[in-house]
């Protein structure tokens, strides 16, 4: 998967036509073969742009910043990124007419060890769902957009769910203990755009900003439940986490429950779909309520 040349051509064309002010893409980080996001404001920097298997980050996150707000932005999105972009559009965070979206039919990105990332192996929507221009060969056509593939339960979730309660409790206590409350997960999430986060307000009063297991539990659980039905499994949070916490466990658990019980499509696949918690059905399961 290498679209470096095409993306450079598209960016050059857009700047020449004056269609965009900023282009958000990837560049080499300068010391190894990993990549970092880059914001390009003119045609002079276009040669920096690259796109390969190592383009792991979700660039939709950069639509939250002042560099892109109220500007015309060109943007590269993979399948998962485009779903989060779809949600941001639905939730009125960005304007579609201000964006020029280069969609990628993603074949999966790789991590530091050269292994295909787990979420890419399990990916159900590899093609970009919102785009002005689509690069790459779409494998299964637009049918994948509505999630016609069977839902794949995450391997970690399946393994953990079989363990006894005490083991799960001990495992997650270690996970929450490792959290240093840097909030990088929240800042790296494209869908966490609230100017003032309820977790911070809570921290101020209840915990005085303490970095305790209890505070981490509170923050991560609240965060994951506020993202339930919206998380697109791009794993930007996990890539940003300095403690390498398995944050996907919380999100994938919520996603699997929502998918199994509410017959919902995956988050962000359909334009205008606000996520599972914004609607209801009379057929929702009721057997757990007395």
């Amino acid at each position: 998967m290498n679209y470096t040349k095409q993306i450079q051509e598209i960016a050059a064309k857009l700047f020449a036509e004056g269609k965009i002010d900023v282009f958000v893409g990837y560049r080499m980080n300068g010391f190894d073969d990993n990549q970092v996001p880059v914001l390009i404001s003119g045609p002079q920097d276009i040669s920096k742009l690259v796109f390969t298997d190592k383009s792991v980050f979700n660039l939709v996150n950069y639509l939250k910043t002042d560099h892109t707000r109220r500007k015309r932005v060109g943007l590269v999105v993979k399948g998962c990124d485009s779903r989060s972009l779809n949600l941001m559009l639905t939730e009125s965070q960005v304007k579609r007419e201000n964006l020029y979206v280069v969609g990628i039919c993603c074949e999966g990105v790789v991590d530091d060890d050269g292994q295909r990332m787990q979420n890419c192996v399990e990916c159900m929507v590899p093609d970009a769902v919102v785009y002005d221009e689509l690069l790459g060969e779409t494998l299964s056509g637009s049918q994948t957009l509505t999630g016609s593939k069977p839902y794949i339960v995450n391997v970690d979730i399946a393994a953990l769910a079989e363990k006894p309660l005490t083991e799960r409790a001990a495992y997650f206590e270690e996970v929450f203990e490792s959290c240093i409350r840097c909030n990088a997960c929240r800042h790296s999430c494209p869908l966490c755009y609230c100017a003032k986060c309820c977790i911070d307000q809570e921290t101020a009063t209840l915990y005085n900003g303490a970095n305790t297991t209890s505070a981490a539990f509170h923050a991560l659980m609240t965060w994951s439940l506020h993202l339930a039905g919206r998380c697109v499994d791009c794993r930007n949070c996990e890539k940003a986490c300095p403690s390498h916490l398995p944050l996907h466990l919380l999100h994938k658990q919520n996603e699997s429950v929502i998918f199994k019980n509410f017959q919902e499509h995956l988050a962000g696949v359909n334009p205008g779909d606000r996520g599972a918690f914004y609607k209801y059905s009379m057929q929702d399961p009721d057997d757990f309520i007395m």
Binding site: L165, T166, R168, A169, E173, L206, F277
Partner: protein
């Protein structure tokens, strides 16, 4: 010796921790203003007894209950939470409890996934006319949580010593 061990009440999530003698659970009851709160009122005025372990909080609607409330309750004093609202179709705000129902299921499953017993968080529909049902529900929840023992997961520091 065997009977002694049997009589000791342990926390189900942390079997190494034993409950103090005469331990009584604290249950947070989050009730909707229009049905369950009126229902609990009816239980009282009908002179039906229910366990005093429940501490009741009134909310406008069951959909007012952010999953955050449950997390916060479990972190502080509560050993269990009961959330109660109007029956489906009876919501004062027409569809609030339908939204709440989805949220409850996901919250319950997530809490169970990270190590809380599934009976720590319970939900019920109680209408304003169901005084006896409210007493029954509270009885059942209290019994369930007495079996599970005290909650020792992720307690905020000040609440660790009971």
């Amino acid at each position: 010796m065997e009977t002694e061990v049997k009589d000791q009440l342990v926390s189900i999530e942390k079997p190494e921790l034993v409950a103090p003698p005469n331990w009584e659970p604290v249950i947070m009851g989050i009730l909707c203003n229009w049905c369950s709160y009126a229902g609990s009122d009816l239980t009282g005025t009908s002179r039906i007894q229910y366990p005093p372990n429940i501490r009741i909080i009134r909310v406008p609607c069951s959909s007012r209950v952010d999953p955050w409330f449950l997390i916060k309750s479990l972190q502080t004093t509560a050993d269990g939470v009961l959330v109660s609202g109007c029956h489906p179709g009876d919501c004062h705000y027409i569809s609030g409890n339908y939204y709440a129902r989805r949220r409850f299921l996901v919250t319950k499953k997530l809490l169970n996934f990270v190590g809380f017993h599934e009976n720590r968080v319970q939900f019920s529909w109680v209408s304003a006319a169901e005084g006896p049902k409210f007493a029954k529900v509270v009885n059942k929840v209290t019994e369930d949580i007495k079996k599970l023992g005290p909650l020792h997961l992720y307690k905020k520091e000040n609440f660790e010593k009971k």
